[in-house]
Amino acid sequence: METFSEMVPEEKHRVLICCMMALAEPPGTAGFPNPLYELGYEIDILEWDAVLNSKGEVVAPDIILTDKRSNHSMVMECKSSELSENQIERYNNVERTDLVDWGISSDDPRKLTHDITLVSSYENSGTFFNTLHQWNCTFPALQVGLVQIEKIVNEFSREELNRIFPIRIRFEYIPQYLYPISRESPDHVVMEQILQGLLSRLYRHESEEFEVDLKDVVIDTFPHWESMGADIRAKIMQKCQRIIAVASKDDVIGRYIEYQYMEHQSGRIKFRIPNYRRTNAVQAFQRVGTEYIGRLRKSYVQQRLF
């Protein structure tokens, strides 16, 4: 797997989201602390397209964590790139009633308070900190490092939150399957999920081949498909069409996947593992899949480096 620094910004963004989600996960995520869950926070909303603030401006928080009993929400924006003054301004204009309109519920919505919380990784902390300073940003900001999550500037309105930092972690233990794929994930991550989906379908169908619309595979791969806007869906579909078309022409993985492109439609996949019930047949598919994903990953890392 590529290291964090080799990832595209969007993939880093996904990892930061996973990290924040994990802090509010119930027990079960071994090796990673969950102090926000212990304080009462739950994951309320995950990566929206966009919502409106009190001034009618668009904001797109990555994740909102809410402690219903304390009527407090953390509206989180994970940053893997620069933060603009305009973005800060828009978040400044987020009010309690906006959160209620977005569907955040608490024991007493009239008493709901919130903190906009900015999150960055150890990699861009310098520029991130400078930007906050430059724009006189008052939001609490967290930095995810290799061994701890620190609050680097400003205070939360809820005192208990200020006390839990720094949180000791191991960066490599961030549970990445909490949010395994985002709309910007690189080809090898998407392909991995597609292969998993195809094999799962084959075993559920109990037949050595089946045909399916690519669209159904894509919906299966991106479980938050329903909540995406039309433009994003179209982009994802194009990306998946490209990924599958390339795979179907590959000498090795192409033996399992046929793809027929159809204009104005997603196209149709024929997936086949001869003698799929035999261990060696499914082992062979595993070897081929792993090798193919490895090639995609290698080419992705090289593209990132050069």
């Binding site: 490599e172 998993q196 938050h224």
Partner: protein, 400 residues
């Protein structure tokens, strides 16, 4: 020999309903104990009542097992079926009475010898898609002691992970009979502490033995338990001697109460099914599409007491696609010590993602995947790598 012949040639009566089945099983249970006592015969030789809990996601008339010919017949009761089976190259059919009142967790009763029934059930559970054993973890097996008077325990361990040099114990199987058997098991599990105490004394030559002792602590899963179950407040002293195996096999070794045997099965099945449903409803992960978008479920982790020294080797065994794990997966190495696996359970086709470190295995079960996947993986790790492994991921109490 007259009595032995009599039971060996148990005439399989015509079973038309549950009442017929109950009567038939009761007769066999009553005879079994006397015969076993008199002739000291082993289970394989006797036609004891054996009942298997099987998980199935298919109707009984779709039951198949490669290498077997199967005939399914109805009874007057729509939830009770007779399944006749024989190896394709054999001539004689054997019989199972399959209770599908719970259409997912069936109970298959038989009086066939274990040598005939076990391989058939094994074939269904091990190789057929959407059929499986139930997998009672060691901790659950231990609680049978509270359900009846313990008579003995069975430990079965077969190390399949790690390279040969790492295997200190390899395969281990033993039966301990008598009331002290639980204490002996407890002793095994405390051996690392004993080792630490002796090490303080600096006895070098004992170290190898001590290592073996430590190995025993993670090689002693409770695979089987024998109990005497007595019905509560029963003035007629009705009881049954039952042996329970962790893969959901119940053998009535005798007594005078088939009801006790049936109660143990029903009670286990209900408790197990409740846990599996809890896993599927509360733990399996998905997204709720109502606005706003919310996540449901959460990961669950197997905590190991025995460190994994070679993650790659362990991970390769886990996703070898072979029995017992039957997991397919594409591994991603986050670091040398952490691997993430995008996987599929080949028992059911369900999606399962995993993350492994030297101390834990995180499991992310997808919504609509089968909860038995978690129980199987957990139980197999106990029987093949670390019998002290625990499953964590619920806020209050334990899953099993």
């Amino acid at each position: 020999m007259q009595a032995t012949d009599e039971i060996n040639k148990v005439k399989q009566p015509e079973i038309r309903n549950r009442m017929d089945l109950h009567r038939f099983l009761e007769v066999v249970v009553n005879k079994t104990y006397e015969l076993e006592k008199e002739y000291q015969r082993l289970e394989e030789d006797l036609n004891m009542v054996k009942s298997y809990i099987i998980e199935s996601h298919k109707p009984v008339n779709e039951l198949t097992a490669s290498g077997y010919t199967i005939r399914v017949s109805k009874t007057d009761d729509p939830t009770l079926f007779i399944v006749n089976f024989k190896k394709t190259d054999m001539s004689k059919f054997s019989t199972l009475y399959v209770d599908v009142f719970d259409d997912r967790f069936w109970t298959a009763h038989t009086v066939e010898k274990s040598a005939i029934a076990d391989p058939f059930i094994g074939k269904i559970a091990r190789t057929e898609i959407k059929n499986d054993y139930i997998w009672l973890p060691s901790q659950y097996m231990g609680r049978f002691k509270e359900k009846g008077i313990p008579r003995g325990i069975t430990l079965q361990y077969s190390e399949i992970m790690g390279d040969e040099e790492e295997k200190l114990i390899g395969d281990l199987s033993m039966k301990l009979w008598g009331t002290a058997s639980g204490d002996v098991l407890e002793l095994f599990r405390n051996l690392p502490h004993i080792k630490a105490l002796i090490q303080k004394g600096g006895e070098e030559k004992l170290y190898h033995i001590l290592d073996v002792c430590e190995g025993l602590s993670y090689s002693s899963p409770l695979s089987g338990i024998g109990i005497t179950y007595t019905s509560k407040d029963d003035c007629d002293s009705r009881y049954v001697l039952d042996d329970i195996i962790y893969k959901g096999k119940f053998t009535a070794r005798g007594g005078n109460s088939i009801d006790g045997h049936l109660y143990l099965i029903r009670n286990t099945k209900e408790e197990y099914a409740n846990v599996i449903r809890y896993i599927e409803e509360e733990i399996a992960m998905g997204l709720v599409h109502n606005s706003p978008l919310r996540m449901t479920g959460h990961p669950i982790s197997i905590i190991l007491s025995r460190e994994i020294e070679d993650i790659e080797l362990f991970s390769n065994e886990l996703i070898s696609c072979k029995y017992p794990f039957r997991l397919w997966g594409i591994p991603r190495y986050v670091t040398k010590e952490v691997v993430a696996i995008t996987g599929v359970d080949l028992h059911t086709g369900g999606k399962l993602n995993l993350e492994l470190s030297s101390d834990w295995v995180r499991l992310y079960l997808h919504k609509n995947s089968c909860g038995n996947t978690i129980a199987r993986l957990y139980s197999i790790i106990q029987h093949h790598y670390d019998s002290n492994a625990t499953l964590e991921g619920v806020e209050y109490g334990n899953l099993f």
